[in-house]
């Protein structure tokens, strides 16, 4: 098993932490992982993206040209990364703010109304967990239990009370993702 994934959106959407949560969960499942952010000024208010690789075997390059899956959370990222998904690969996107929907026919495309769902809940910050839940529904590369365990381990003491909100987000995402 090997999953080469890019998560891309605006800085502040929780792109990097979503990738980190996934990487941490995979690590707890005993897998090899790399998490490579596009760091730098482009994160501040601009686009943010992170490449996450999860594999049973040793991972060579943490930098990729083509991806098995792209999780896309804004229009700029859709334009940049839709062409870089491997044929037969997967595209997951939130239609919120997308003006030109993805067009490729040789990949499987899923839509997840995560921003809409997040604004309906008590905590809008669960947005990235909703997206992660949707992703894990179509690509169950780590167990949901591992994500919850990762949350418990990585969230500081003062934020442990947010775990139920995050778990609800994960479950919500699994419910609302649909084929586009």
């Amino acid at each position: 098993m090997k999953e080469e994934l890019i998560i891309a959106g605006f800085g502040g959407q929780g792109v990097l932490s979503m990738g980190k949560m996934l990487a941490y969960s995979a690590l707890m499942d005993g897998k090899e992982v790399t998490w490579m952010p596009a760091y730098g000024p482009e994160q501040r208010g601009g686009t943010a993206n992170v490449t996450v690789i999860v594999s049973e075997d040793r991972i060579s390059s943490p930098v990729l040209n083509y991806y098995d899956t792209a999780i896309i959370l804004n229009q700029q990222s859709l334009e940049k990364f839709e062409p870089l998904i491997k044929p037969g690969g997967t595209l997951i996107y939130d239609p919120n703010g997308i003006t030109h929907a993805p067009k490729r026919t040789d990949i499987t495309i899923y839509a997840i109304e995560a921003m809409k769902a997040a604004t309906e809940t008590e905590n809008i910050k669960s947005f990235n967990m909703i997206v992660l839940g949707g992703y894990l529904k179509v690509k169950p590369i780590v167990k949901v239990e591992s994500v919850l365990k990762a949350l418990r381990k990585t969230l500081p003491e003062r934020h442990q009370d947010l775990i139920p909100v995050n778990e609800a987000g994960l479950r919500k995402g699994m419910e609302i993702i649909r084929k586009a």
Binding site: A23, T34, W35, M36, P37, Y39, S60
Partner: protein
């Protein structure tokens, strides 16, 4: 106890420093390595192991604080990124002239000048050929994973003390910023005063009546004595070259085309080797782990085996000079590099190799 963690390369350096019994860290923040000091400050090792961590007023101050600690036989270190390491060069030359062990971490970014904050390997010359003034070298280790960022901290200190010379971990923004699984080593206590007195008979520890004065200095006005010191230093360097060369050979046994790359570029090239092998092209990768001493003899062996060597570096062609010296014209050596913080993809490296088929 060993501990498995998901860490950035920079965080791994900081945690490994605490665990390997480092006595002090002195630094000044700069992207892309600021997490080293941030992690140290968050961990507060002064409350546990007694390790001192201090944000100095500048890189120049940091390196001379390192000089002070090193002169006392302490395991002390600093870290910075390219422009900051340039500022430290005078102090590094002084450390070398005074034969003091220390660790300097350079998480490189694109240059010259202030350059960019993205990854680069353009400080290879500076790191391996001295960097400051005078005849000296540093032991230079080039990690290519977060695990090696952790592992090389203790290794660098050990080598620095064994040969009484500064060691450098030459990394870059890619290895510093990425996260991977790391097994952190078990805790090792800091050396006691007695242990330092025993293992470092040169350390400045306050003069006992029973012995003569010790001086840590790079100044000697008598050229005859100065030359003698230089000769002795060069003899030590020769020992390092003989004993401490480290490199990794990946898919090299039957290779017809050999990538030579270090650090982050070696990770990219591993993937390029996989891609080429899948097409039936016999590619291999030789990865120098010590950039000084350079694995010249091992490279030389491949000169008669492979048809071509391709040096892949995040610079305009620096390590390639050492590769060419090693093979001495017996095999064509070509360069592929990107500059200014641009990182090529493994596919681009594959295309570059195919151009020379």
């Amino acid at each position: 106890m060993e501990e498995v963690r998901l860490l950035k390369g920079n965080e791994a350096i900081a945690l490994a420093a605490i665990r390997c019994g480092a006595d002090g860290y002195f630094g000044y923040p700069i992207t892309p390595q600021s997490e080293i000091m941030e992690t140290l400050m968050a961990e507060k090792p002064w409350e546990t192991t007694g390790m001192v961590c201090l944000q100095a007023e500048s890189e120049v101050a940091s390196i001379y604080m390192v000089f002070g600690g090193a002169a006392c036989g302490k395991r002390v270190m600093t870290s910075s990124s390219s422009p900051g390491v340039s500022l430290m060069q005078e102090g590094i030359s002084f450390l070398s002239g005074a034969d003091l062990p220390a660790l300097i971490v350079n998480v490189q970014r694109g240059g010259p000048g202030l350059g960019t904050i993205q990854p680069s390997q353009s400080d290879y010359f500076q790191a391996t050929k001295g960097g400051g003034h005078g005849d000296y070298h540093l032991i230079v280790l080039a990690p290519y994973s977060v695990q090696e960022m952790a592992d090389f901290v203790d290794l660098a200190f050990t080598l620095a003390f064994r040969y009484r010379m500064p060691a450098m971990i030459l990394s870059d923004g890619m290895i510093g910023q990425m996260m991977e699984k790391v097994v952190l080593p078990p805790f090792k206590p800091r050396a006691t005063d007695q242990e330092i007195e025993q293992s470092c008979p040169w350390a400045l520890r306050g003069k006992a009546h029973s012995r003569g004065q010790r001086i840590a200095s790079s100044l000697e006005l008598d050229p005859a004595i100065m030359e003698k010191q230089n000769v002795e230093r060069q003899e030590r360097y020769a020992l390092v070259q003989e004993r401490e060369v480290r490199c990794e050979e990946y898919c090299c046994e039957d290779a017809e085309y050999l990538f030579v790359a270090f650090g982050s570029c070696a990770r990219l090239c591993q993937k390029s080797v996989e891609l080429l092998r899948a097409e039936g092209i016999k590619a291999g990768l030789l990865r120098p782990i010590t950039l000084w001493p350079f694995p010249s003899r091992i490279l030389e062996r491949y000169a008669s085996q492979v048809r071509r060597m391709l040096c892949v570096e995040l610079n305009s062609g620096q390590m390639i000079e050492d590769v060419r010296l090693a093979v001495n014209g017996r095999v064509p050596v070509v360069h592929y590099g990107r500059m200014g913080g641009v990182v090529p993809t493994p596919e681009e490296i594959v295309e570059e190799l195919k151009k020379s088929l």
